[in-house]
């Protein structure tokens, strides 16, 4: 044994230890991401982006430490429960619910762009526009708190949104509250970004940082829409009692194929959802339209040459090209690839917003906010909507007896 070799190991071991410790710094805390698509669309300067971020920080706080202004109408205790990092080593920890259950799909910012999002079909919801699909209120209104709880408890069948029924009630409540918080924050962010366009020249491109402007004029209208949701709840008449089920189904079928409701245009004459296949929901449509604008803009500016232009025009042209390039990058890096929304296949018996007759009534009456499904309210009288509901519910079983309930893996039997 070589005595020297004992000693020689020390520097090697020390070096190795140093190398190991390099990676051991803590990652900075989670942070909200700015809505770059909107910021670029509104042509905000970096200073303006910074101002928006600062204002939002003051008004809403961070993912670890939310700020809850009373005007939002949100419950601070619930938000504390939902926010913050997950600490599984702490027994009985009192927060981190959103990060534990939701953030990897919906994103820490609630932008529907968590790490897993790009691989899901359909994409997870982006809360920031404040549009929600499956609720009991009229089309353009926000969901009620009970609607949010229902979605959390039941999940959304046929998508990656799971049921959280096995969480305790306080936890589900906290999560629903946090989603509203993220949505209010997102809509406020949009409103702030759009406000730059309205500024007059004296403001020099800076938003007034007064409570009056920020809270009363920007935040409160957003929060009010949430508070007024219960008033917009659809009043549902009773199902017509004087007609038997078979007759109701027959009437529903007529309406389904008729001109008033015109369901077959999208859901297809077979009810398999093959009527059309190239429409988008609002979130994807926004990206598609921006894509079109950017592409055509790039094509046009590509053709135009700056020779023969005045210095001012040439500078404007260059700015336009730069902006188009930036927008193109943002779309590639900060938005999910757009997907069409297929109309629902009504023969499988999977209903995303819930399978109660009541849920189907809501969908037909108010349509689906954010999706191409139109509202039948006004064109179809309420009892007729019930007939359509009964017809829809019979569709998975329409060929019972002919194809047989025992035939394996019939579409409906795939559940």
């Amino acid at each position: 044994m070589n005595r020297f070799s004992h000693v020689a190991f020390l520097p090697i071991a020390v070096l190795a230890a140093c190398l190991l410790s390099v990676g051991c710094g803590k990652t900075p805390s989670a942070s909200y991401r700015l809505n770059m698509v909107e910021a670029t669309k509104q042509r905000l300067t970096p200073d303006q982006e910074r101002q928006v971020a600062t204002v939002l920080l003051a008004m809403f706080g961070t993912p670890d430490n939310p700020v809850v202004l009373p005007e939002t109408g949100l419950d601070e205790a619930k938000l504390r429960l939902a926010s913050g990092p997950v600490r599984s080593d702490i027994v009985g920890r009192k927060n981190g619910l959103y990060r534990e259950h939701c953030a990897h799909c919906h994103g820490v910012t609630g932008d529907g762009m968590g790490p897993t999002a790009a691989f899901l079909n359909p994409y997870p919801r982006d809360y920031r526009p404040g549009v929600f699909k499956f609720k009991s209120t009229e089309r353009a209104d926000k969901p009620t708190h009970a609607d949010m709880l229902r979605i959390l408890r039941n999940g959304i069948a046929g998508t990656s949104m799971p049921s959280f029924a096995l969480l305790s009630e306080p936890k589900i409540d906290a999560l629903a509250e946090y989603v509203k918080y993220l949505s209010i924050r997102g809509e406020t962010e949009l409103a702030l970004m759009r406000a730059y366009f309205e500024l007059d020249d004296d403001a020099k491109g800076i938003l007034p940082e007064t409570r009056e402007f920020l809270v009363d004029e920007t935040l409160t209208p957003v929060a009010e829409k949430w508070k007024s949701a219960p008033a917009a709840q659809i009043v549902v008449p009773d199902m017509p009692a004087d007609i038997d089920l078979a007759e109701s189904i027959a009437k529903g079928r007529e309406l389904f194929y008729g001109d008033k409701a015109n369901c077959v245009k999208c859901h297809g004459v077979t009810g398999l959802g093959d009527g059309q296949a190239n429409d988008y929901d609002d979130w994807n449509k926004a990206i598609v339209e921006i894509n079109k604008e950017v592409k055509s803009g790039l094509a046009k500016t590509g053709e135009t040459s700056t020779s023969g232009m005045s210095a001012e025009d040439a500078a404007e042209h260059r700015q336009q090209v730069a902006w188009l390039g930036k927008f193109s990058d943002v779309i590639d890096g900060d938005a999910l690839k757009p997907r069409t929304i297929p109309p629902r296949n009504l023969r499988v018996g999977i209903y995303r917003g819930g399978r109660r007759p009541l849920d189907l009534y809501y969908r037909i009456h108010a349509g689906i906010n954010g999706a191409p499904m139109p509202a039948a309210k006004g064109t179809v009288p309420p009892e007729d909507i019930w007939h359509i509901v009964n017809y829809i519910r019979s569709l998975p079983y329409e060929f019972d007896g002919e194809l047989g309930a025992d035939k394996p893996m019939v579409a409906r039997d795939r559940f």
Binding site: H101, T116, F119, S136, T144, H145, A146, D147, L149, R150, N154, G155, A157, S160, P162, S163, A165, L166, K227, A229, P230, Q233, V236, D238, M239, R355, R356, P357, L358, Y361, W386, R393, S394, Y397, D400, A405, D406, P408, M409, R412, D413, R414, F415
Partner: protein, 266 residues
């Protein structure tokens, strides 16, 4: 060539293996790190098989490891005098330690066939109590409804919240909608992979009421860890009542009262 102290030290390290090994298994149950509570009828036979094999392998483990320690202690070159024993083997020993383990292992295999058949081969003649369809990442349940037939209009559809009656034979029809999953009920000693394209029967009888976990036990994608379900065992009366109530909620044509009062209080 090393000191006697070294030999003692290393022999004791190897002695630590059986000592700490047995200690771990002996101490674990007092920390509740042991077989979870069993509430199924066939569970005890599986648990007793586990314990039997544990005892058998435990004995072999202790004997072989202690022998290893003893040989290291005794035949340390720094301690034992003279040359090593020049021997190429013992025919007798080879026969003995081939026949005895072979017989034991064969016995073990045959001894367990009955329990296996009970759990996996002898399906009770009954129609399914519930159909469980595994899906990324939830358990979709379908009860046959009053007509006791799956696939008709009165089926009850649920997610993750399985209710079953106590003290009755239960037959589950297990399917998968997309990829492989596995229906694992730790407290019932039940596990069966859910294979898309196959309808696999799973049967057991619950002996106690309570709420227990349903765990997915076959990697099914990123959400494998959150495929948590709950099975609630209750009396037949409670079970029937729950079925009625849940079905009524499923067929609701008016919002539930809590859905209206909650929003008014908002």
């Amino acid at each position: 060539m090393g000191s006697r102290l070294g030999g003692i030290f290393w022999s004791l390290i190897f002695l630590a293996v059986p000592v700490l090994g047995v200690a771990t298994f002996a101490v674990a149950p007092s920390y509740n790190i042991w077989l979870p509570k069993n509430v199924s009828e066939h569970g005890p036979s599986i648990d007793s098989l586990f314990m039997f094999i544990l005892a058998l392998t435990g004995v072999v483990f202790v004997v072989t490891e202690v022998l290893l320690f003893w040989f290291l202690w005794k035949y340390d070159a720094a301690k034992a005098k003279g040359p090593a024993t020049y021997i190429h083997g013992s025919h007798t020993l080879e026969v003995v330690w081939t026949i005895i383990p072979a017989a034991t292992l064969l016995f073990l295999a045959i001894y367990q066939m009955n329990t296996w058949a009970d759990v996996k081969m002898r399906r009770p003649a009954m129609s399914p109590t519930v159909e469980v369809v595994a899906r990324q990442f939830e358990w979709r349940l379908r009860y046959p409804g009053r007509d006791n037939m799956l696939g008709t209009r009165d089926d009850l559809f649920l997610t993750n919240d399985l209710h079953l009656p106590v003290d009755e034979d239960i037959l589950i029809q297990l399917k998968s909608m997309d990829v492989l999953h596995s229906f694992f009920l730790p407290n019932f000693r039940i596990k069966q992979d859910a294979v898309p394209g196959m309808k696999i029967p799973v049967w057991f009888k619950a002996t106690e009421t309570g709420a227990f976990d349903i765990v997915c036990a076959e990697l099914c994608g990123w959400g494998h860890y959150k495929m948590k379900g709950r099975v609630t065992i209750e009396s037949r009366a409670d079970f029937d009542r729950w079925l009625e109530e849940t079905y009524a909620r499923q067929e609701a044509t008016q919002p539930a009262s809590e859905d209206i009062t909650a929003s008014a209080a908002d």
